[in-house]
């Protein structure tokens, strides 16, 4: 397959933050991942592109720990990473924003933010440290410039974009290294999409690398530094997602012979 190989790598770091090598995953007779390799560098937004069923989501699930690889390896900062659960991944600073957001509509913004990771007083049965949580949540929302009515609003009363933003901000707050975003704007309108993308673009400034799974080339062009294309469980190629490469990327995604260079 034609690959305009070895594109610009962010000059700051030679060694990748995350390296996936020859990842393999089978579901019965179906080969979901067939030797996919992938590098993610510090402070970059990497797009993973591919058609439905190409294996993008499976790959992300393996990186976020909700599924285990059958073959291959994942390395974080040069050290092999063995993930048995999403909890493992989170402990290593890898957070995932799922397509369904995993939000609690009945809980307020702050409670959603800390769900499962509430700050509690030491040596108690889990006495909530509400003041600290409120302060923490406010400061992160402010830093990432997310607009919500108040921390006490139940998330179910927020718009789609705000909900998405809450999910992203939650991941960012707890991620020390990587945030994985699976189709972050799938359910959003034009303007809400714009807001979420703006948020994503800001993450590298916070020292966080992003893996963005998407269908939408425009979006990818807007926020990603590099794009990796996967088809039928294989890595097809890599390109800088800009206007000039548009046709090339599309041809990689659908598997048609490339017209443009």
């Amino acid at each position: 397959m034609s690959t305009p190989s070895e594109l610009r790598k962010p000059a700051t770091s030679a060694e990748p933050l995350l390296r996936v090598r020859e990842a393999e995953k089978r579901f019965g007779a179906v080969v979901a991942l067939d030797g996919v390799s992938l590098d993610l560098y510090r402070g970059e937004v990497l797009a993973v592109l591919g058609d439905n069923g190409a294996g993008k989501s499976t790959l992300m699930k393996c990186i976020s720990g909700s599924q285990r690889l059958d073959g291959g390896a994942i390395e974080l900062e040069g050290r092999p990473l063995s993930l048995r659960s999403p909890h493992d991944a989170r402990r290593h600073g890898v957070e995932t924003v799922y397509q369904d957001l995993a939000l609690f509509d009945n809980l307020d913004v702050e409670a959603n933010f800390f769900a499962g990771r509430e700050l509690v007083a030491k040596r108690t049965l889990g006495w909530l440290n509400k003041k600290q949580m409120r302060r923490n949540a406010l400061s992160v929302l402010e830093r990432l410039e997310v607009s919500i009515p108040s921390l006490q609003t139940p998330v179910g009363l927020l718009s789609g974009g705000q909900r998405q933003a809450i999910a992203v901000v939650r991941a960012v707050n707890f991620a020390s290294r990587i945030v994985i975003l699976d189709e972050p704007t799938a359910a959003l309108g034009v303007r809400e999409t714009r807001n979420v993308l703006r948020l994503v673009k800001r993450l590298p400034e916070q020292g966080i690398s992003v893996i963005l799974v998407s269908h939408n080339l425009d979006q990818v062009a807007e926020v990603a530094d590099r794009a990796v294309v996967i088809r039928r469980g294989r890595r097809i190629g890599e390109a800088r997602p800009d206007a000039a490469n548009h046709d090339h990327i599309v041809s990689m995604i659908v598997g048609a012979p490339s017209v443009a260079g």
């Binding site: 769900a115 006495w127 607009s147 919500i148 303007r191």
Partner: protein, 386 residues
């Protein structure tokens, strides 16, 4: 829509809406203003409506009290209020336990039968084992907890059967066991401590009501102050997400059944003390009254929504209706009909809540659009064709 870089472009109305965020840092030119109350907290019909719906049970209880004190000169006498509290206490205790269970999206049909079982076991052992009130109290509570543990361990680890069916089964077993143990008879004669709890007053307030209040205060404190309380709401709201974010959903879901069992034991103590007896038919279908109280109090049977204070108000509404119909000498056959109507009214207000909330959501989305319009679009690589 070209952006003038040195000026926040906002329409006058929203500009005025955020005076707090007014000092504009230079870098803010391309971004939205940071977190702030992004609209003045002006109450609209929707938000006022939502507040009213939330207060619905309280207002309804007040209305009942006003009407009854007008209709009957006896209603607001000390004696009657004491009676009312006394009579409501068993359902109220059960409702507190049921409330936690319903918050997680489950239900416990066995509660009433467990009350009967506790009264029978307590009464029997008062004769055969000891007349020490504390021991009997402990045994009755332990009985309730034991059934709660059985419910929890059948429902949760396997998650094969619904709580409805499982507790239907344990209800039948507990009820049958109560009749078998008592031989179908009423076993009288409990230790004085239990009789005091069930039928005496302290400073004019029924001891049973004090027990209810104490239990409710503890539960309220635990649910609002402990992580565990949030987790109860979380698993009721979205069980799958709860598991994914690392909440020990299974343990939390089991814990509420154990507390529900404890509540049934407590109700058993009150029930036994009230009549100085244990019998298999005691508190028959009391769990349905408790569930009604929770629902009338504004909680959702889907889980994740409701307040403890609402639940207590719900129990008081049930008690007041019972008491009021008595005072007005209405044929007791009418009581279930009235209760049914009230329950359906509660469902109606819940429906209104859903409608109002979706209106609020819509408004939130529109608000966001206005803000996006006012933000300066970033010069992007948006030239790539789709």
């Amino acid at each position: 829509m070209s952006g003038s870089p040195d000026q926040l472009k906002r329409s006058p109305d929203t500009g005025a809406a955020a005076p707090v965020a007014a000092p504009v840092a230079p870098r803010a030119q391309k971004e939205q203003p940071a977190l702030r109350p992004h609209r003045p907290a002006l109450p609209s019909f929707t938000t006022i409506g939502l507040k009213l719906v939330g207060l619905g049970p309280f207002l309804f209880l007040l209305l009942l009290w006003v009407v009854l004190s007008i209709e009957s000169p006896y209603f607001f006498t000390t004696l009657n209020v004491t009676n009312l509290l006394q009579a409501s206490s068993i359902v109220a205790v059960l409702a507190v336990g049921q409330f936690l269970i319903i918050l997680t999206g489950a239900i416990d049909l066995s509660a009433g039968a467990v009350v009967a079982l506790c009264t029978v076991i307590g009464a029997q052992l008062s004769h055969t084992l000891t007349h020490n009130g504390l021991v009997i109290v402990a045994i009755m509570l332990a009985t309730g907890i034991a059934v709660g543990i059985v419910n929890a361990t059948i429902i949760e680890p396997l998650r094969l059967a619904s709580p409805f069916v499982v507790t239907l089964g344990t209800m039948s077993i507990a009820s049958g066991a109560a009749f078998v143990i008592s031989g179908g008879a009423t076993v009288t004669g409990l230790p004085p401590l239990i009789d005091h709890i069930g039928s005496n007053s302290v400073a004019g307030i029924p001891a049973a009501a004090l027990v209810v209040a104490g239990f409710a205060v503890v539960v309220a404190a635990l649910t609002s102050r402990l992580r565990w309380g949030r987790w109860i709401y979380a698993i009721g709201g979205n069980r799958e997400a709860a598991e994914r974010v690392g909440i020990p959903a299974r343990r939390v879901a089991m814990s509420v059944f154990v507390i529900g069992g404890f509540a049934a034991g407590l109700a058993g103590i009150i029930q036994a003390g009230l009549t100085d007896s244990g019998q298999g038919a005691a508190s028959f279908t009391a769990e349905l009254d408790a569930i009604s109280a929770v629902v009338i109090g504004g909680a959702s049977l889907q889980g994740g929504r409701g307040t403890l204070s609402g639940t207590l108000v719900g129990a008081l509404i049930l008690g007041t209706i019972h008491n009021g119909l008595n005072l007005l000498s209405v044929d007791t056959n009418w009581e279930p009909i009235v209760l049914g109507v009230v329950l359906l009214l509660a469902l109606g207000t819940d429906f209104m809540r859903v409608r109002l909330e979706s209106r609020l959501r819509l408004r939130e989305a529109r608000q966001l659009e206005v803000e996006s319009d006012n933000a300066v679009p970033e010069s992007g690589r948006s030239t790539v064709a789709a």
